[in-house]
Protein backbone atom coordinates (compact mmCIF):
# COMPACT_ATOMS: atom_id res chain seq x y z
CA UNK A 1 0.00 0.00 0.00
CA UNK A 2 1.35 3.41 -0.99
CA UNK A 3 2.07 5.44 2.13
CA UNK A 4 3.79 8.52 0.80
CA UNK A 5 4.81 10.07 -2.51
CA UNK A 6 7.23 12.97 -2.66
CA UNK A 7 8.12 14.75 -5.88
CA UNK A 8 10.37 17.74 -6.34
CA UNK A 9 11.16 19.93 -9.32
CA UNK A 10 9.14 17.76 -11.74
CA UNK A 11 6.78 19.80 -13.95
CA UNK A 12 4.39 21.66 -11.62
CA UNK A 13 5.29 19.55 -8.60
CA UNK A 14 7.75 21.23 -6.27
CA UNK A 15 8.42 19.98 -2.76
CA UNK A 16 5.14 18.12 -3.27
CA UNK A 17 4.07 15.42 -0.85
CA UNK A 18 1.04 13.13 -0.83
CA UNK A 19 0.23 11.03 2.23
CA UNK A 20 -1.95 7.96 1.64
CA UNK A 21 -1.56 6.11 4.92
CA UNK A 22 -4.62 3.92 5.62
CA UNK A 23 -6.41 5.23 2.52
CA UNK A 24 -7.69 2.37 0.33
CA UNK A 25 -9.21 4.91 -2.02
CA UNK A 26 -8.72 8.61 -2.57
CA UNK A 27 -9.80 11.30 -4.99
CA UNK A 28 -7.83 14.20 -6.43
CA UNK A 29 -9.85 17.25 -7.34
CA UNK A 30 -8.82 20.68 -8.58
CA UNK A 31 -9.06 22.98 -11.54
CA UNK A 32 -7.58 22.17 -14.94
CA UNK A 33 -3.81 22.56 -14.76
CA UNK A 34 -3.69 22.05 -11.00
CA UNK A 35 -1.44 18.99 -11.38
CA UNK A 36 -3.76 15.98 -10.98
CA UNK A 37 -2.64 14.20 -14.14
CA UNK A 38 0.99 15.15 -13.48
CA UNK A 39 0.86 12.94 -10.40
CA UNK A 40 -0.08 10.10 -12.75
CA UNK A 41 2.86 10.98 -15.01
CA UNK A 42 5.24 10.95 -12.02
CA UNK A 43 3.86 7.58 -10.91
CA UNK A 44 4.37 6.34 -14.46
CA UNK A 45 8.10 7.14 -14.22
CA UNK A 46 8.30 4.80 -11.21
CA UNK A 47 6.07 2.19 -12.87
CA UNK A 48 8.30 2.14 -15.96
CA UNK A 49 11.38 1.62 -13.80
CA UNK A 50 9.61 -1.39 -12.26
CA UNK A 51 8.85 -2.62 -15.78
CA UNK A 52 12.53 -2.60 -16.64
CA UNK A 53 13.06 0.73 -18.38
CA UNK A 54 16.33 1.95 -16.96
CA UNK A 55 17.67 4.56 -19.35
CA UNK A 56 17.06 7.95 -17.75
CA UNK A 57 16.42 9.58 -21.13
CA UNK A 58 13.47 7.18 -21.62
CA UNK A 59 11.97 8.19 -18.29
CA UNK A 60 12.43 11.91 -17.84
CA UNK A 61 13.24 14.73 -20.25
CA UNK A 62 14.93 18.06 -19.68
CA UNK A 63 11.60 19.82 -20.23
CA UNK A 64 10.30 18.01 -17.12
CA UNK A 65 12.31 20.30 -14.85
CA UNK A 66 9.92 22.67 -13.11
CA UNK A 67 9.98 25.98 -14.97
CA UNK A 68 13.18 24.91 -16.74
CA UNK A 69 15.10 24.99 -13.45
CA UNK A 70 17.81 22.53 -14.47
CA UNK A 71 20.22 23.48 -11.69
CA UNK A 72 18.00 21.73 -9.12
CA UNK A 73 17.67 17.91 -9.17
CA UNK A 74 14.38 16.20 -9.97
CA UNK A 75 13.56 13.97 -7.02
CA UNK A 76 11.10 11.09 -6.60
CA UNK A 77 10.54 9.42 -3.26
CA UNK A 78 8.01 6.68 -2.71
CA UNK A 79 7.14 4.77 0.45
CA UNK A 80 5.19 1.56 0.11
CA UNK A 81 3.99 -1.03 2.60
CA UNK A 82 4.42 -4.55 1.17
CA UNK A 83 3.71 -7.51 3.45
CA UNK A 84 3.85 -5.17 6.45
CA UNK A 85 7.36 -3.99 5.54
CA UNK A 86 8.05 -0.36 4.65
CA UNK A 87 9.90 0.08 1.35
CA UNK A 88 11.45 3.51 0.78
CA UNK A 89 12.81 4.25 -2.67
CA UNK A 90 14.53 7.48 -3.66
CA UNK A 91 15.64 8.57 -7.11
CA UNK A 92 17.25 11.94 -7.79
CA UNK A 93 18.19 13.05 -11.30
CA UNK A 94 20.39 15.94 -12.31
CA UNK A 95 21.49 17.77 -15.43
CA UNK A 96 25.12 18.76 -15.41
CA UNK A 97 26.17 22.03 -16.98
CA UNK A 98 26.86 21.71 -20.70
CA UNK A 99 25.29 18.22 -20.85
CA UNK A 100 22.16 17.36 -22.80
CA UNK A 101 21.06 14.23 -20.95
CA UNK A 102 19.97 13.81 -17.35
CA UNK A 103 21.87 11.42 -15.14
CA UNK A 104 21.51 9.76 -11.75
CA UNK A 105 22.52 11.85 -8.78
CA UNK A 106 21.23 9.56 -6.05
CA UNK A 107 19.32 6.30 -5.76
CA UNK A 108 18.43 4.24 -2.72
CA UNK A 109 16.16 1.42 -1.58
CA UNK A 110 15.57 0.91 2.14
CA UNK A 111 13.38 -1.89 3.53
CA UNK A 112 12.24 -1.73 7.16
CA UNK A 113 14.98 0.78 7.86
CA UNK A 114 17.73 -1.42 6.38
CA UNK A 115 19.44 -0.22 3.19
CA UNK A 116 19.21 -2.76 0.34
CA UNK A 117 21.36 -0.63 -1.92
CA UNK A 118 22.39 2.96 -2.19
CA UNK A 119 24.01 4.93 -4.92
CA UNK A 120 25.78 8.22 -5.42
CA UNK A 121 26.39 9.03 -9.06
CA UNK A 122 27.78 5.89 -10.71
CA UNK A 123 28.86 4.19 -7.49
CA UNK A 124 26.42 1.58 -6.12
CA UNK A 125 26.71 -0.12 -2.73
CA UNK A 126 24.74 -3.37 -2.54
CA UNK A 127 25.08 -5.08 0.83
CA UNK A 128 28.88 -5.27 1.18
CA UNK A 129 29.61 -5.03 -2.54
CA UNK A 130 30.49 -1.90 -4.42
CA UNK A 131 30.27 -1.58 -8.18
CA UNK A 132 29.73 1.02 -10.88
CA UNK A 133 26.68 1.58 -13.03
CA UNK A 134 26.44 3.92 -15.99
CA UNK A 135 25.38 7.39 -14.80
CA UNK A 136 22.53 7.33 -17.27
CA UNK A 137 20.98 4.04 -16.13
CA UNK A 138 18.67 3.52 -13.15
CA UNK A 139 20.14 0.69 -11.03
CA UNK A 140 16.91 -0.85 -9.74
CA UNK A 141 15.94 -2.72 -12.95
CA UNK A 142 19.42 -4.16 -13.52
CA UNK A 143 20.35 -5.49 -10.08
CA UNK A 144 19.89 -9.25 -10.19
CA UNK A 145 17.31 -10.63 -7.77
CA UNK A 146 18.45 -13.44 -5.50
CA UNK A 147 15.09 -15.16 -5.13
CA UNK A 148 11.36 -14.63 -5.57
CA UNK A 149 11.30 -13.40 -1.98
CA UNK A 150 14.12 -10.90 -2.50
CA UNK A 151 12.80 -7.50 -1.31
CA UNK A 152 14.33 -5.94 -4.40
CA UNK A 153 12.25 -8.24 -6.59
CA UNK A 154 9.08 -7.69 -4.54
CA UNK A 155 9.45 -3.93 -4.84
CA UNK A 156 10.15 -4.04 -8.58
CA UNK A 157 7.05 -6.21 -9.07
CA UNK A 158 4.97 -3.79 -7.01
CA UNK A 159 6.10 -0.91 -9.19
CA UNK A 160 5.63 -2.91 -12.41
CA UNK A 161 2.08 -3.82 -11.42
CA UNK A 162 1.01 -0.24 -10.75
CA UNK A 163 -2.01 0.37 -12.98
CA UNK A 164 -2.14 3.86 -14.48
CA UNK A 165 -5.18 4.51 -16.62
CA UNK A 166 -6.23 7.29 -18.90
CA UNK A 167 -8.16 5.05 -21.27
CA UNK A 168 -8.78 5.97 -24.88
CA UNK A 169 -11.64 3.61 -25.82
CA UNK A 170 -11.04 3.94 -29.55
CA UNK A 171 -7.63 2.31 -28.98
CA UNK A 172 -9.19 -0.57 -27.04
CA UNK A 173 -9.84 -3.00 -29.85
CA UNK A 174 -9.92 -6.23 -27.85
CA UNK A 175 -7.31 -7.70 -30.16
CA UNK A 176 -4.17 -9.29 -28.78
CA UNK A 177 -1.05 -10.92 -30.08
CA UNK A 178 0.50 -11.56 -26.71
CA UNK A 179 -0.14 -11.65 -23.00
CA UNK A 180 0.79 -9.14 -20.35
CA UNK A 181 -0.01 -8.06 -16.83
CA UNK A 182 1.27 -4.58 -17.61
CA UNK A 183 -1.47 -2.45 -19.17
CA UNK A 184 -0.52 0.75 -20.94
CA UNK A 185 -1.86 4.06 -19.72
CA UNK A 186 -4.09 4.54 -22.79
CA UNK A 187 -5.18 0.87 -22.63
CA UNK A 188 -4.11 0.28 -26.23
CA UNK A 189 -2.93 -3.18 -25.10
CA UNK A 190 -6.18 -3.99 -23.28
CA UNK A 191 -6.60 -7.24 -25.25
CA UNK A 192 -3.11 -8.38 -24.22
CA UNK A 193 -3.88 -7.56 -20.58
CA UNK A 194 -7.20 -9.39 -20.72
CA UNK A 195 -5.49 -12.42 -22.28
CA UNK A 196 -2.62 -12.30 -19.77
CA UNK A 197 -5.01 -12.14 -16.84
CA UNK A 198 -7.12 -15.07 -18.00
CA UNK A 199 -4.19 -17.24 -19.00
CA UNK A 200 -2.35 -16.77 -15.73
CA UNK A 201 -5.37 -16.50 -13.43
CA UNK A 202 -8.26 -18.41 -15.04
CA UNK A 203 -10.47 -17.81 -11.97
CA UNK A 204 -10.42 -14.12 -12.91
CA UNK A 205 -12.98 -14.98 -15.61
CA UNK A 206 -15.62 -15.47 -12.89
CA UNK A 207 -14.93 -12.05 -11.40
CA UNK A 208 -14.99 -10.31 -14.76
CA UNK A 209 -18.19 -12.15 -15.65
CA UNK A 210 -19.87 -11.29 -12.33
CA UNK A 211 -19.17 -7.58 -12.69
CA UNK A 212 -20.23 -7.43 -16.33
CA UNK A 213 -23.55 -9.18 -15.59
CA UNK A 214 -24.28 -6.54 -12.96
CA UNK A 215 -23.69 -3.64 -15.33
CA UNK A 216 -24.98 -5.25 -18.54
CA UNK A 217 -27.72 -7.71 -17.54
CA UNK A 218 -28.25 -8.82 -21.14
CA UNK A 219 -24.68 -9.99 -21.59
CA UNK A 220 -24.60 -13.72 -22.19
CA UNK A 221 -20.97 -14.45 -22.77
CA UNK A 222 -17.65 -13.05 -23.91
CA UNK A 223 -14.93 -14.96 -25.70
CA UNK A 224 -11.31 -14.33 -26.47
CA UNK A 225 -11.05 -16.28 -29.69
CA UNK A 226 -7.89 -17.43 -31.40
CA UNK A 227 -8.27 -16.28 -34.99
CA UNK A 228 -4.70 -16.58 -36.20
CA UNK A 229 -1.31 -17.69 -35.02
CA UNK A 230 -0.89 -15.95 -31.62
CA UNK A 231 -3.69 -13.55 -32.53
CA UNK A 232 -6.87 -13.30 -30.49
CA UNK A 233 -9.89 -11.08 -30.66
CA UNK A 234 -12.58 -10.45 -28.06
CA UNK A 235 -16.22 -10.94 -28.93
CA UNK A 236 -19.24 -10.25 -26.77
CA UNK A 237 -22.61 -11.95 -26.96
CA UNK A 238 -25.83 -10.41 -25.72
CA UNK A 239 -29.16 -12.16 -25.28
CA UNK A 240 -32.66 -10.87 -24.62
CA UNK A 241 -35.92 -12.79 -25.01
CA UNK A 242 -34.12 -15.67 -26.73
CA UNK A 243 -32.65 -13.39 -29.38
CA UNK A 244 -28.87 -13.31 -29.63
CA UNK A 245 -26.48 -10.67 -30.82
CA UNK A 246 -22.75 -11.13 -31.12
CA UNK A 247 -20.45 -8.20 -31.64
CA UNK A 248 -16.73 -7.56 -31.76
CA UNK A 249 -15.34 -5.87 -28.68
CA UNK A 250 -14.08 -3.01 -30.84
CA UNK A 251 -17.69 -2.13 -31.67
CA UNK A 252 -18.83 -1.73 -28.08
CA UNK A 253 -19.56 1.81 -26.96
CA UNK A 254 -16.83 3.77 -25.17
CA UNK A 255 -18.66 3.41 -21.86
CA UNK A 256 -19.13 -0.34 -22.32
CA UNK A 257 -15.41 -0.72 -22.97
CA UNK A 258 -14.85 1.07 -19.66
CA UNK A 259 -17.12 -1.49 -17.96
CA UNK A 260 -14.79 -4.20 -19.26
CA UNK A 261 -11.80 -2.18 -18.10
CA UNK A 262 -13.28 -1.81 -14.61
CA UNK A 263 -14.05 -5.53 -14.50
CA UNK A 264 -10.44 -6.35 -15.41
CA UNK A 265 -9.05 -3.87 -12.86
CA UNK A 266 -11.18 -5.44 -10.11
CA UNK A 267 -10.24 -8.98 -11.18
CA UNK A 268 -6.53 -8.09 -11.48
CA UNK A 269 -6.52 -6.65 -7.96
CA UNK A 270 -8.06 -9.86 -6.64
CA UNK A 271 -5.84 -12.15 -8.75
CA UNK A 272 -2.35 -10.72 -8.47
CA UNK A 273 -2.84 -7.80 -6.11
CA UNK A 274 -2.95 -5.97 -3.89
CA UNK A 275 -2.36 -3.40 -6.61
CA UNK A 276 -2.08 0.35 -6.74
CA UNK A 277 -4.27 1.92 -9.40
CA UNK A 278 -4.25 5.54 -10.59
CA UNK A 279 -7.28 6.21 -12.78
CA UNK A 280 -7.48 9.64 -14.37
CA UNK A 281 -11.19 10.54 -14.58
CA UNK A 282 -12.82 7.10 -14.29
CA UNK A 283 -16.17 8.81 -14.91
CA UNK A 284 -15.25 9.65 -18.51
CA UNK A 285 -17.54 8.07 -21.11
CA UNK A 286 -20.12 6.97 -18.50
CA UNK A 287 -23.75 7.97 -18.23
CA UNK A 288 -24.69 10.02 -15.18
CA UNK A 289 -26.75 7.17 -13.75
CA UNK A 290 -23.71 4.89 -13.95
CA UNK A 291 -20.94 7.10 -12.56
CA UNK A 292 -21.80 6.63 -8.88
CA UNK A 293 -22.08 2.85 -9.13
CA UNK A 294 -18.87 2.63 -11.12
CA UNK A 295 -16.86 4.69 -8.64
CA UNK A 296 -18.39 2.97 -5.62
CA UNK A 297 -17.64 -0.47 -7.11
CA UNK A 298 -14.00 0.50 -7.46
CA UNK A 299 -13.86 1.95 -3.97
CA UNK A 300 -15.56 -1.06 -2.40
CA UNK A 301 -13.33 -3.54 -4.16
CA UNK A 302 -10.14 -1.79 -3.06
CA UNK A 303 -11.39 -1.57 0.56
CA UNK A 304 -10.34 -5.19 1.06
CA UNK A 305 -6.88 -4.84 -0.50
CA UNK A 306 -4.93 -2.56 -2.78
CA UNK A 307 -5.42 1.11 -3.34
CA UNK A 308 -7.07 3.32 -5.92
CA UNK A 309 -6.37 6.97 -6.57
CA UNK A 310 -8.80 8.68 -8.94
CA UNK A 311 -9.12 12.17 -10.33
CA UNK A 312 -12.38 13.76 -11.33
CA UNK A 313 -14.28 16.86 -12.34
CA UNK A 314 -17.59 15.00 -12.27
CA UNK A 315 -19.96 16.02 -9.47
CA UNK A 316 -21.43 12.53 -9.11
CA UNK A 317 -17.96 10.95 -8.85
CA UNK A 318 -16.82 13.62 -6.39
CA UNK A 319 -19.84 12.96 -4.17
CA UNK A 320 -18.93 9.30 -3.94
CA UNK A 321 -15.83 10.24 -1.95
CA UNK A 322 -15.74 11.92 1.45
CA UNK A 323 -13.77 14.72 3.05
CA UNK A 324 -11.09 12.50 4.59
CA UNK A 325 -10.25 10.83 1.27
CA UNK A 326 -10.55 13.81 -1.07
CA UNK A 327 -7.40 15.77 -1.80
CA UNK A 328 -7.69 19.26 -3.22
CA UNK A 329 -4.96 20.37 -5.61
CA UNK A 330 -4.51 24.05 -6.25
CA UNK A 331 -2.15 26.14 -8.31
CA UNK A 332 -2.40 29.91 -8.24
CA UNK A 333 -0.93 30.30 -11.73
CA UNK A 334 1.42 28.55 -14.14
CA UNK A 335 4.48 30.05 -12.45
CA UNK A 336 3.64 28.64 -9.05
CA UNK A 337 3.76 25.04 -7.85
CA UNK A 338 0.88 22.73 -7.02
CA UNK A 339 -0.38 22.80 -3.44
CA UNK A 340 -2.36 19.97 -1.90
CA UNK A 341 -4.61 19.68 1.13
CA UNK A 342 -7.03 17.11 2.44
CA UNK A 343 -10.60 18.36 2.17
CA UNK A 344 -11.23 17.48 5.82
CA UNK A 345 -8.46 19.93 6.79
CA UNK A 346 -10.14 22.79 4.93
CA UNK A 347 -13.10 24.89 5.85
CA UNK A 348 -15.72 25.75 3.30
CA UNK A 349 -19.37 26.58 3.59
CA UNK A 350 -22.20 24.59 2.04
CA UNK A 351 -22.05 22.01 -0.70
CA UNK A 352 -18.63 21.03 -2.08
CA UNK A 353 -19.82 20.68 -5.66
CA UNK A 354 -21.42 24.14 -5.57
CA UNK A 355 -18.18 25.53 -4.18
CA UNK A 356 -16.21 23.85 -6.98
CA UNK A 357 -18.60 25.21 -9.61
CA UNK A 358 -18.09 28.70 -8.24
CA UNK A 359 -14.31 28.11 -8.30
CA UNK A 360 -14.17 29.28 -4.69
CA UNK A 361 -11.79 26.64 -3.36
CA UNK A 362 -8.32 28.09 -2.86
CA UNK A 363 -5.37 26.95 -0.77
Amino acid sequence: MLQRLYIHNFRCLENFELQFKDMPSALLIGKNGAGKSTIGIALEVLQRIGRGINRVAHLVQTEDFARGRTDVPIRFEIEVLIDKKLYQYTLALELQNNFEALRILEEQLIVSGEPIYSRQGASVTLHEAKFMVDWHLVALPIIQRRSEADPLHLFKMWLAHIIILTPIPSLMTGESNGETLEPKRDCANFGDWFSGLLVRYPAAYMQVDKYLREVMPDIRDFQNELIGKNFKTMRVQFQENQADMRIDFRNLSDGEKCFFLCAVVLAANKSYGPLFCFWDEPDSFLSLSEVGHFVTSLRRSFETGGQILATSHNSEAIRKFSNENTLVLYRKNHLEPTLVRLLSDMSFQGDLVDTLIRGDIEL
Binding site: E214, V215, E290, R300, T304, S322, V353
Partner: protein
Protein backbone atom coordinates in the same frame (compact mmCIF):
# COMPACT_ATOMS: atom_id res chain seq x y z
CA UNK B 1 -26.52 -0.73 -15.45
CA UNK B 2 -27.78 1.88 -13.04
CA UNK B 3 -30.41 1.05 -10.43
CA UNK B 4 -33.08 -1.07 -12.09
CA UNK B 5 -36.24 0.85 -11.29
CA UNK B 6 -38.42 -2.16 -12.06
CA UNK B 7 -36.72 -4.21 -9.33
CA UNK B 8 -36.82 -3.34 -5.65
CA UNK B 9 -34.44 -0.50 -4.89
CA UNK B 10 -33.96 2.37 -2.49
CA UNK B 11 -33.00 5.98 -3.10
CA UNK B 12 -31.26 7.80 -0.27
CA UNK B 13 -31.85 11.53 0.06
CA UNK B 14 -29.32 12.86 2.59
CA UNK B 15 -30.00 16.21 4.18
CA UNK B 16 -26.47 17.52 3.94
CA UNK B 17 -22.86 16.70 3.22
CA UNK B 18 -22.28 14.94 6.55
CA UNK B 19 -25.22 12.60 5.96
CA UNK B 20 -24.04 12.03 2.37
CA UNK B 21 -20.65 10.89 3.65
CA UNK B 22 -22.31 8.55 6.16
CA UNK B 23 -24.26 7.05 3.26
CA UNK B 24 -21.00 6.71 1.27
CA UNK B 25 -19.53 4.66 4.10
CA UNK B 26 -22.68 2.51 4.22
CA UNK B 27 -22.27 1.75 0.51
CA UNK B 28 -18.72 0.48 1.01
CA UNK B 29 -19.95 -2.57 2.93
CA UNK B 30 -18.84 -5.65 0.94
CA UNK B 31 -22.19 -7.37 1.48
CA UNK B 32 -24.20 -4.54 -0.04
CA UNK B 33 -25.91 -4.86 -3.39
CA UNK B 34 -24.76 -1.57 -4.89
CA UNK B 35 -27.15 -1.89 -7.82
CA UNK B 36 -30.16 -1.63 -5.49
CA UNK B 37 -29.27 1.68 -3.88
CA UNK B 38 -28.55 5.16 -5.13
CA UNK B 39 -27.52 8.19 -3.07
CA UNK B 40 -28.94 11.44 -4.36
CA UNK B 41 -27.30 14.87 -4.05
CA UNK B 42 -27.98 16.51 -0.67
CA UNK B 43 -30.54 19.33 -0.89
CA UNK B 44 -29.00 21.14 2.12
CA UNK B 45 -31.40 21.03 5.08
CA UNK B 46 -34.30 18.90 6.24
CA UNK B 47 -36.96 21.27 4.91
CA UNK B 48 -35.27 21.15 1.51
CA UNK B 49 -35.31 17.35 1.73
CA UNK B 50 -39.06 17.56 2.14
CA UNK B 51 -39.38 19.97 -0.76
CA UNK B 52 -37.25 17.76 -2.98
CA UNK B 53 -39.26 14.73 -1.96
CA UNK B 54 -42.53 16.53 -2.74
CA UNK B 55 -41.38 18.07 -6.01
CA UNK B 56 -39.30 15.25 -7.49
CA UNK B 57 -40.09 11.96 -5.90
CA UNK B 58 -43.77 11.58 -4.99
CA UNK B 59 -44.94 11.24 -8.57
CA UNK B 60 -42.00 8.98 -9.44
CA UNK B 61 -42.75 6.72 -6.48
CA UNK B 62 -46.32 6.40 -7.70
CA UNK B 63 -44.93 5.44 -11.09
CA UNK B 64 -42.28 3.00 -9.86
CA UNK B 65 -43.87 0.71 -7.30
CA UNK B 66 -40.58 -0.99 -6.41
CA UNK B 67 -38.99 2.27 -5.37
CA UNK B 68 -38.37 2.99 -1.69
CA UNK B 69 -36.86 6.12 -0.22
CA UNK B 70 -34.78 6.89 2.80
CA UNK B 71 -34.80 10.49 3.98
CA UNK B 72 -31.62 10.99 6.00
CA UNK B 73 -32.13 14.05 8.20
CA UNK B 74 -30.85 15.61 11.42
CA UNK B 75 -33.46 15.72 14.17
CA UNK B 76 -31.75 18.62 15.99
CA UNK B 77 -33.30 17.39 19.29
CA UNK B 78 -36.72 18.19 17.85
CA UNK B 79 -39.03 15.39 19.01
CA UNK B 80 -41.80 16.52 16.69
CA UNK B 81 -39.70 16.45 13.54
CA UNK B 82 -40.31 12.82 12.66
CA UNK B 83 -44.05 13.38 12.94
CA UNK B 84 -43.85 16.59 10.93
CA UNK B 85 -41.97 14.86 8.14
CA UNK B 86 -44.27 11.84 8.15
CA UNK B 87 -47.26 14.14 7.83
CA UNK B 88 -45.87 15.33 4.50
CA UNK B 89 -45.64 11.81 3.09
CA UNK B 90 -48.76 10.68 1.20
CA UNK B 91 -50.54 7.81 2.99
CA UNK B 92 -50.15 5.42 0.07
CA UNK B 93 -46.36 5.93 0.12
CA UNK B 94 -45.80 5.83 3.88
CA UNK B 95 -44.94 2.13 3.78
CA UNK B 96 -42.14 2.77 1.26
CA UNK B 97 -40.60 5.90 2.79
CA UNK B 98 -38.28 5.78 5.79
CA UNK B 99 -36.89 8.62 7.87
CA UNK B 100 -33.67 8.15 9.82
CA UNK B 101 -31.05 10.45 11.28
CA UNK B 102 -28.96 11.65 14.17
CA UNK B 103 -30.79 12.86 17.27
CA UNK B 104 -28.83 16.09 17.04
CA UNK B 105 -26.39 16.11 14.11
CA UNK B 106 -23.82 13.65 12.69
CA UNK B 107 -20.87 15.67 14.02
CA UNK B 108 -21.93 14.67 17.55
CA UNK B 109 -21.89 10.98 16.63
CA UNK B 110 -18.31 11.40 15.46
CA UNK B 111 -17.38 13.17 18.68
CA UNK B 112 -19.11 10.75 21.00
CA UNK B 113 -18.37 7.29 19.62
CA UNK B 114 -14.82 6.03 20.00
CA UNK B 115 -13.01 4.78 16.86
CA UNK B 116 -15.53 6.35 14.50
CA UNK B 117 -13.40 9.25 13.39
CA UNK B 118 -15.02 9.96 10.06
CA UNK B 119 -18.55 10.02 8.68
CA UNK B 120 -17.63 7.12 6.40
CA UNK B 121 -16.55 5.12 9.46
CA UNK B 122 -20.00 5.76 10.97
CA UNK B 123 -21.68 4.59 7.75
CA UNK B 124 -19.55 1.45 7.61
CA UNK B 125 -20.36 0.62 11.24
CA UNK B 126 -24.09 1.20 10.68
CA UNK B 127 -24.02 -1.14 7.68
CA UNK B 128 -22.23 -3.80 9.72
CA UNK B 129 -24.96 -3.54 12.34
CA UNK B 130 -27.57 -4.10 9.62
CA UNK B 131 -25.71 -7.11 8.20
CA UNK B 132 -25.06 -8.69 11.61
CA UNK B 133 -28.41 -7.63 13.09
CA UNK B 134 -26.65 -5.93 15.99
CA UNK B 135 -27.16 -2.53 17.58
CA UNK B 136 -23.59 -1.58 18.40
CA UNK B 137 -23.99 1.80 16.76
CA UNK B 138 -27.70 2.00 16.03
CA UNK B 139 -28.26 1.44 19.76
CA UNK B 140 -26.18 4.48 20.76
CA UNK B 141 -27.89 7.28 22.66
CA UNK B 142 -27.68 9.57 19.60
CA UNK B 143 -29.25 7.01 17.23
CA UNK B 144 -31.50 4.74 19.28
CA UNK B 145 -34.59 6.89 18.60
CA UNK B 146 -34.48 5.40 15.08
CA UNK B 147 -35.28 1.91 16.36
CA UNK B 148 -38.86 1.55 15.11
CA UNK B 149 -38.23 3.19 11.77
CA UNK B 150 -35.05 1.16 11.30
CA UNK B 151 -36.80 -2.09 12.12
CA UNK B 152 -39.46 -1.27 9.56
CA UNK B 153 -36.85 -0.36 6.95
CA UNK B 154 -34.66 -3.41 7.52
CA UNK B 155 -37.58 -5.78 7.11
CA UNK B 156 -38.38 -4.12 3.77
CA UNK B 157 -34.91 -3.64 2.27
CA UNK B 158 -32.65 -6.33 3.72
CA UNK B 159 -33.83 -9.08 1.34
CA UNK B 160 -32.66 -7.13 -1.72
CA UNK B 161 -30.07 -4.73 -0.33
CA UNK B 162 -27.62 -7.20 1.17
CA UNK B 163 -26.20 -10.27 -0.56
Amino acid sequence: MSVNKYNKHILVLPEDDANRQIANGFLLDPALNDRAIQILPPPGGWTKVLNAFRDNHISEMHKYKNRMMLLLVDFDHDEKRLGNIKNKIPDDLKERVFVLGAQSEPENIKKNIANLNTFEDIGKALAQDCVNETENIWGHELLKHNRNELKRMISSVKPFLFN
